[in-house]
């Protein structure tokens, strides 16, 4: 019976009630989405800055679960400039992946919904707000203009189809008009060569299980690059790989980015990889951006206590320390977020103002913003 008193306990009746209410909310969203013949002016927008490939503007993505609403992404704003790499760092469960899935509109439906905010995607002549774009239009964007490299290469590839067929499919769907099967095959083999697979003809007719982890990840990258996308989302592309293979893949990504001049949104929890790849860094914590800036800003002048803690808790080769710093406590429960700064309970640098509501973004310099009360005085609020 001790369990009943435990925090977060829900009776079956309570859970049913929540689930009924959720269904009402999510049905409304789904109905909106499933409309046919949506006029273009509903989802076409203009970019705030035409030099950006993607703009996340106050994005809120919630999951309506039977235990309550999980605010996985709660007011995230940042930009991905054209031709640049933006690194998104944070611990698991901080909303990095949900942010990227919101851009792809691949959220687990109907529980996961973008409830507020906009994601503007710049395609040169047109700009789409993907949160309002109907599914049929999205299908033409996904894989063509925006594509994703997934974390686990084994689960991202279909085990019952040959490598060649899987890449051909992407080209046929998006770019295959008027091309013969031979042309498409030639292009696929070209792609496999581009990502550094020596035996490209052989790999074309292999199954995913015949390849090693590094090779599979190359295939996934080839698939993502098949239609020269404008935006590539790399969701922890090297986490499952060894350091030596990781070095190869990072090298490859950097070369390819320069060749097709696309933007990369690079999601990882490895600060070393971020430092190597990213031009801009976004640090997320519990569904919010706590700090953003150029790579130099974040690594040389980390401002938010969470960023500082994260840097100190990772051992660095060549630096001898007796005891690693560890951030005390744990991430707050995503269903009952506190109404003050989410990091306050774990923060060792609290100031008087920390009891107030969640701090807004403060500009430390033109490129460097942080959301923390320590920097409130003397700086203009934004």
């Amino acid at each position: 019976m001790a369990k009943k008193k435990a925090e977060g306990y829900l009776s079956a009746r309570e859970s049913r009630r929540i689930s009924r209410e959720n269904r009402k909310i999510t049905n409304a969203y789904e109905k909106q989405r499933k409309r046919k013949n949506v006029p273009e002016n509903e989802y076409l927008t203009t970019m705030r800055d035409p030099n950006n490939a993607v703009e996340f503007d106050n994005l809120h993505t919630y999951f309506f679960t039977d235990a309550g609403t999980v605010k996985a992404v709660d007011g995230v704003s940042f930009e991905v400039p054209i031709g640049k790499t933006v690194g998104v760092v944070g611990e698991s469960g901080c909303g990095k992946s949900v942010t990227s899935l919101s851009l792809m509109q691949l959220l687990q439906r109907p529980q996961g919904q973008v409830v507020d905010g906009a994601i503007r995607l710049n395609l040169g002549d047109k700009a789409y707000d993907v949160t309002r774009t109907p599914n049929e239009v999205l299908q033409k964007l996904r894989g063509h203009y925006v594509s994703m490299i997934f974390q686990e290469p084994m689960t991202a590839l279909n085990p019952v189809f040959r490598i060649g067929d899987q890449i051909n499919e992407v080209i046929e769907l998006h770019d295959g008009e008027g091309q013969s099967a031979e042309d498409i095959k030639k292009r696929t083999i070209g792609l496999l060569e581009m990502v550094g697979i020596a035996n490209s003809e052989g790999v074309y007719s292999m199954f995913p299980h015949e390849l090693s982890g590094g090779m599979r990840q190359r295939v996934v990258i080839a698939m993502a690059l098949a239609c020269n996308p404008k935006v590539i989302i790399a969701d922890e592309p090297t986490t499952a790989l060894d350091v030596t293979i990781q070095a190869q893949i990072l090298d490859l990504l950097r070369q390819l980015k320069n060749r097709i001049n696309s933007s990369i949104m690079f999601i990882t929890h490895d600060l070393g990889v971020i430092a190597e790849m990213a031009d801009y860094v976004v640090v997320m914590y519990a569904g919010r951006v706590v700090e953003r800036g150029t790579a130099a800003d974040i690594f040389h002048h980390p401002a938010h206590p969470y960023t500082i803690g994260l840097m100190a808790s990772k051992p660095v080769v060549g630096k001898k320390i007796d005891k690693l710093y560890s951030i005390p406590g744990k991430v707050p429960n995503p269903i009952n977020m506190p109404n003050y700064c989410y990091f306050k309970d774990r923060c060792e640098m609290c100031v008087d103002g920390c009891d107030g509501e969640y701090p807004c973004m403060i500009s430390l310099s033109e490129t460097h913003q942080v959301s923390c009360y320590r920097y409130y005085d003397g700086k203009e609020e934004k």
Binding site: Q246, Q248, G272, A295
Partner: protein, 360 residues
């Protein structure tokens, strides 16, 4: 089956004698896994998972074991603990006793002295047992404490691993990854071991949780005078926690030395490449990277000569034919590479090369 295995045991090594300063002496340890094929499942080949590993581990120190996935780090750890059947060859002396010569009864006693922490805290805890039982099961089995002291003992162990007494009645699914790893550590420590194999204990955890677990492991080491064999592919973690480091490639140790030596003055080209591949969290850091081509060859059919020669930058003619010898290049810094051969080893290698070339 056992009879077949017995005949296959490789005896081509010089036995070592026990030196009391070392808790663990591993001498030319080999572990092959048979590949079965054909109609009557004959053995058609062997996966040479561990193919001659030699090192000595001092009491109360930590040895790191690094290498790419599939190089045999984990198999080495498990073979030392006699967890994966019979060995194929070599010696494992734990406190001077050959682990594989112990009878079932003696082995049972020995088990309390050597423990393992597994990689994945999500699959290594039974979902059907409460945490108190997970930690206490082996303690009761080995009758380490009297039954009236049992509860206090478990509480004390849990407390030292950062778990609360009320966690005892909960089940593993109610815990986060870091907490589960604490349970795994508590389970290993409850038997009061001397030697613990930590098989990638922090790989599945977040950065901030990693730091907590690493700090915990170090505190416990001081408190209980533990010896660790720390298996990991994260070199920065290994550098932080280890006193000595062994680098493995395709079933062989290629380099072994103190942490200082390995990270400041790596000898083997593979170690150099491995170290240069570590991403540094500094955007201005100069990149001087040795990118290894290709991936690790199959251990069922390893390359001839030096196993690393297919990917080595400094590959010479001799590397393709003769396997390098395990030599002590500097005091307590071992390396297996033709670049650091002594004069007579060089002569032997050249002879092997000539013989091999003539045979072709």
């Amino acid at each position: 089956m056992a009879a077949i295995n017995k005949t296959q045991i490789d005896t081509s090594f010089t036995p070592v004698t026990y030196d009391p300063q070392y808790i663990l002496m591993v001498n030319n340890l080999k572990k092959y896994f048979p590949i079965k094929g054909g109609m009557i499942s004959r053995t058609v080949g062997h996966v040479k998972a561990v193919d001659g590993v030699t090192f000595n581990l001092k009491r109360g120190t930590t040895m790191g074991l690094v290498g790419e996935s599939g190089c045999g780090k984990t198999t080495t750890g498990r073979t030392i603990l006699r967890l994966s059947g019979e060995k194929t060859g070599g010696q494992v002396l734990f406190n001077g006793k050959e682990v594989y010569d112990l009878s079932a009864k003696e082995m049972r006693e020995m088990r309390t002295k050597m423990q393992i922490i597994f990689q994945d805290p999500f699959s290594s805890l039974s979902p059907r047992l409460p945490v108190g039982e997970i930690i206490g099961e082996a303690v009761r089995e080995h009758k380490l404490v009297a039954s009236e002291e049992f509860d206090d003992y478990i509480d004390r162990i849990m407390d030292s691993c950062g778990l609360q007494p009320f966690h005892k009645d909960r089940y593993p699914h109610e815990f986060s990854g870091g907490q589960r790893q604490r349970i795994c550590i508590a389970r290993a420590l409850a038997l009061n071991p001397e030697f613990v194999v930590c098989d990638e204990p922090v790989s599945a955890l977040d950065v901030s949780i990693q730091a907590q677990i690493i700090n915990l492991l170090r505190e416990l080491q001081e408190q209980y005078k533990l010896t660790y064999l720390f298996i990991s592919h994260d070199l920065s973690v290994v550098e932080h926690i280890s006193d000595s480091v062994g680098v493995m490639y395709l079933g062989n140790l290629v380099e072994y030395g103190t942490t200082e030596d390995i990270f400041r003055m790596p000898l083997h080209p593979y170690t150099e490449a491995l170290l240069s591949a570590i991403p540094v969290p500094d955007p201005d850091a100069k990149m001087n990277r040795i990118v290894l081509e290709g991936s690790i060859p199959s251990p069922a059919n390893p390359p001839k000569g030096c196993k690393f020669h297919t990917r080595c930058e400094k590959c010479m003619e001799v590397c393709k034919y003769a396997a390098p010898e395990w030599t002590e290049v500097e005091p307590n810094h071992f390396c297996a590479c033709h670049l650091y051969n002594s004069a007579d080893a060089q002569a032997r290698a050249n002879e092997t090369m000539k013989a091999e070339m003539a045979a072709q």
